[in-house]
């Protein structure tokens, strides 16, 4: 069976239109929130936190982590909210009755989430980057980490949206998984400053590798090897993708 290319492109475009129609909520608000974090934490902790990065100020250290944290949260939110909303509203039937296959659906949802994640990342860097003075040491690592990490969280968002039957379930995903993992990933501090038990725990958090690898793209060095960060992030993405594609192919929680 030949793939439905126009169907894939239509779904991708529709998902972009969906968040674009409420841009203030989907892009502007997260960017403002992250910039507020930057302002407050930079003011409070500048000069008090040892980043472990020679020649890099705390504010410079903080910005890449905040950008990636915002990328992860928005990639997750785009897919999870879209799927959950269409399931609760009932209009997901139009997608499920259409000749659009699981792979096309997967790629369209992830693609639209990456578009939204890219918009928030560029907006934050455009506003704060010149003020903070952020170098770019390795653009390929930056792009690779952005694509892998953004895709991984977009897929996790698809899983959450498929599994959830109410918005409460989605909120639970966000409150008990996404937010804690984001905040305990070394966004605001270097993991080397943690006690041993939390240092070890951080190395089991896939979000840590996403933040650290993204930071490597700016500074050329990080808490762990870029290859370890890429490996962990890619591995997490593959695991999420396998689970999500299994759900789409079997119709788990989508078709009875």
């Amino acid at each position: 069976m030949s793939p439905n290319q126009l169907g894939f492109y239509t779904l991708l475009k529709k998902e972009v239109m969906r968040f674009w129609s409420v841009l203030a909520q989907t892009v502007t608000a997260p960017v403002l929130t992250a910039l507020l974090y930057l302002l407050v934490f930079a003011q409070a902790l500048q000069g008090r936190v040892v980043t472990g990065y020679d020649g890099i100020s705390y504010t410079q250290f903080l910005l890449p982590g905040l950008v990636m944290m915002t990328v992860l949260q928005n990639a997750f939110a785009n897919t999870s909210s879209s799927l959950a909303q269409s399931k609760v509203n009932g209009n997901i039937v139009f997608l499920l009755m259409a000749p659009i296959g699981p792979v096309e659906m997967f790629l369209a949802y992830v693609g639209a989430a990456l578009v939204r994640a890219l918009l928030v990342a560029l907006a934050m860097l455009a506003v704060a980057g010149p003020l903070v003075g952020l170098p770019i040491a390795n653009p390929f690592a930056l792009l690779a980490m952005f694509l892998l990490a953004g895709s991984a969280l977009a897929v996790l968002g698809m899983i959450a949206g498929i599994v959830s039957t109410k918005f409460d379930h989605l909120a639970a995903f966000s409150n008990f998984i996404i937010t804690p993992l984001s905040f305990l990933s070394g966004v605001f501090y270097s993991v080397h400053s943690l006690p041993p038990i939390w240092f070890t725990a951080s190395h089991l958090n896939p979000f840590f590798y996403m933040i650290d690898g993204f930071r490597y793209g700016f500074f050329g060095h990080a808490d762990v090897s870029i290859w370890l960060s890429l490996g962990w992030t890619a591995g997490f993405f593959v695991l999420m993708a396998v689970i999500c594609l299994w759900m789409l192919f079997t119709g788990y929680k989508l078709r009875k």
Partner: protein, 316 residues
């Protein structure tokens, strides 16, 4: 009703041995019937009969436990892309995406089926014919229920499917809109589209459908032409008003099925209770008739009778 020539080729819908259970509840219990190309077909049954389950299986929303369904020869599981491209379904519930305008929603729907700008003129035509022309740029959530219902019909037709299923399209709509939708369905059918209609308004099914299947408790009770269904039942109704308030003789009283004021309606088996014998019985009892009228059974009478009896092979 218009009766376009039925086309040769595979059935529009082939339903073979379809079974579906939800836990201990057998929603569908071995359904077998075909719908020919170009038919206007009615799928009737009481609530819980399995109609919506069957429609969901045809459209791919639910997977059958056993059996198969083919749409114009395309299996809905093994050849699902082709099957879905040939099918348009108007769901029963008023579901919609609240983020889009009417015309954008229809263009998106067309895109899902691989239809690009070439169908945009068709979308504009449908909006006019469904009296939504002045609502094309309105947000879906701002429309009334009747308007949303019409958009759902347009959504099912954007890709010009040869087979269309309408699941209770006139539920909860006013008389004027119902007639508009009937005209639209007739026009669709006249152009060769196979139309499958489920409805609880039996006069609608009797008026619109050439052939009817009645499903009850997951089993097929009957599939027959509408005319055949109406003719095969061996009874008619006789309404009598007896002069001077006389009482019906005992041997005729058991035939009375309803009383409205002084009018008595009798249900007569054509073979066992010819009308002449009723008149003869009344005359023998010295009772005069003040008024008399007859009516043939309608679909509702037949439906009620069929669904009141246990299905063959069913365990009550």
């Amino acid at each position: 009703m218009n009766t376009p020539t039925l086309r040769a080729g595979p059935p529009a819908l082939e339903i073979a041995g379809v079974r579906k259970a939800y836990g201990s509840v057998q929603a569908l219990n071995g359904l077998d019937f075909d719908i020919r190309q170009g038919e206007f077909f009615g799928l009737l049954g009481p609530n819980g009969a399995g109609k919506s389950t069957l429609i969901s299986i045809i459209s791919g929303l639910i997977r059958a436990d056993e059996g198969h369904v083919r749409v114009l020869g395309h299996d809905t599981v093994t050849d699902w892309r082709a099957a879905r491209r040939t099918l348009g379904v108007v769901p029963q519930e008023l579901v919609f995406d609240p983020f889009f305008k009417v015309v954008d929603l229809l263009r998106i729907q067309a895109g899902y089926y691989g239809c690009g700008r070439e169908v945009w003129p068709w979308i504009d035509e449908m909006l006019e014919r469904l009296e939504l022309g002045n609502k094309r740029t309105a947000m879906m959530r701002s429309l009334s229920g009747g308007m949303k219902r019409r958009v759902l019909i347009a959504q099912a037709l954007v890709h010009k499917p040869p087979v269309v299923i309408l699941d209770e399209p006139t539920a909860g709509v006013d008389v004027e809109l119902r007639r508009t939708l009937w005209r639209f369905m007739r026009d669709l059918h006249a152009k060769g589209t196979t139309v499958v209609l489920t409805t609880h308004y039996l006069e609608e099914a009797q008026e619109m459908c050439e052939r009817i299947a009645i499903v009850d408790k997951g089993r097929l009770r009957i599939v027959e032409t509408t005319e055949g269904l109406l003719n095969r039942h061996p009874f008619r109704f006789l309404t009598l008003k007896l002069a001077d308030g006389a009482a019906m003789p005992a041997h005729l009283a058991e035939l009375v099925t309803s009383v409205k004021g002084d009018a008595l309606e009798l249900k007569l088996d054509r073979e066992r209770h010819p009308i002449a014998s009723v008149f003869a019985g009344l005359k023998a009892a010295g009772i005069e008739i003040a008024d008399v009228s007859t009516r043939e059974p309608d679909l509702e009478d037949i439906f009620v009778e069929l669904t009141a009896k246990p299905a063959p092979g069913a365990v009550s």
